[in-house]
Symmetry: C2
Subunit: 219 residues, 2 copies
Amino acid sequence: MEFQDCFPVWNKLTPSQQALILGARTERSVAKGTVLHSGGADCAGLLLVKSGQLRAYILSDEGREITVYRLFDRDLCLFSASCMLRSVQFDITIEAEKDTRLWVIPADAYKQVMEQSAPAANYTNEIMAGRFSEVMWLIEQIMWKSLDKRVAAFLLEEVSIEGEDRLRLTHETIANHLGTHREVITRMLRYFQNEGMVRLARGAVELLDKERLRAVRDA
Amino acid sequence: MEFQDCFPVWNKLTPSQQALILGARTERSVAKGTVLHSGGADCAGLLLVKSGQLRAYILSDEGREITVYRLFDRDLCLFSASCMLRSVQFDITIEAEKDTRLWVIPADAYKQVMEQSAPAANYTNEIMAGRFSEVMWLIEQIMWKSLDKRVAAFLLEEVSIEGEDRLRLTHETIANHLGTHREVITRMLRYFQNEGMVRLARGAVELLDKERLRAVRDA
């Protein structure tokens, strides 16, 4: 996969705009667990995922986390370059959830192109609108969905990302994704286990009855 | 206040772009309580507030509400023109919270200008980033703040918007802003009243001790 293939508007940029971005971008490989961006002060640049997986989350004062969105192949992360947009006033942390290869585009180069190019600015707009939609979905989940539905939805999503029914996940990790406490997740998973929907092992959750988990999720 | 004064990038548009928007926009007066936009299918156009106040909220299947953001003089509402952005995939309702005068810019006219003009597209980007920040703030409130802090913050914000300490608000209305049940709000307000922070009357809440309410909010 080439860098250019990840930009739907690449051909609408002028040769000098293309050269500016190609000259400025760098390629990086990061290990699972690496924090690529944290908080508002940091301006790491835009991150374009070549392969792997990133997670964007917010942190409470007490160190609790909640996952806001994830980035997969070809996804572009804007908020790691929050200095580019004056109106971005929140602190987000971006972490590699798997070993990841990515391109970094410095914020000033991207901003310069975006200020000149209506296609680049509109493309950026669409990406932000997409993230906005994910965040609105999250608010609906938090506000209106009970935790059993959220845990079932999370497990089913993980299985669809990982492609296997046995997930290597601690209760702590699930709690951090969903913004709750480990004890609460443990209680819920034990309930699912008693109902025959999952099997629990140290550091792993195996989905035994996805049909019923879907029924919980969609109830 | 002129229409043009509300667009910081007005002078960066070409005369034909300016003419397109001026020719397409209409002016409307709506009474308090009017629903201007509801759900994803509707594409009322962009709303630019001349005077008054709008509220954007989401609705659960059971009819519960939560306020996502508000719009005041000169604020531009993008999501009432969600057909303009492919990636907007959530349903929001926009309602006049006071008698409001506003301009409506049809989505297709605005979109046409935004596709040609980098300044217009970047301006739109900044507006969306600002709303995004408000929504992220809301998630933090919902996730990490207890309801006493949220009610105190809401009452103090209302007083600063209204400019007076006696607020005409039902408990139902407060519950709808904060995405909770009326009974929960009633209990909290009675607690505040017992502590001497507010006085309750039919359809009204009077703030007696803003100092202490601020202390609750910031604790």
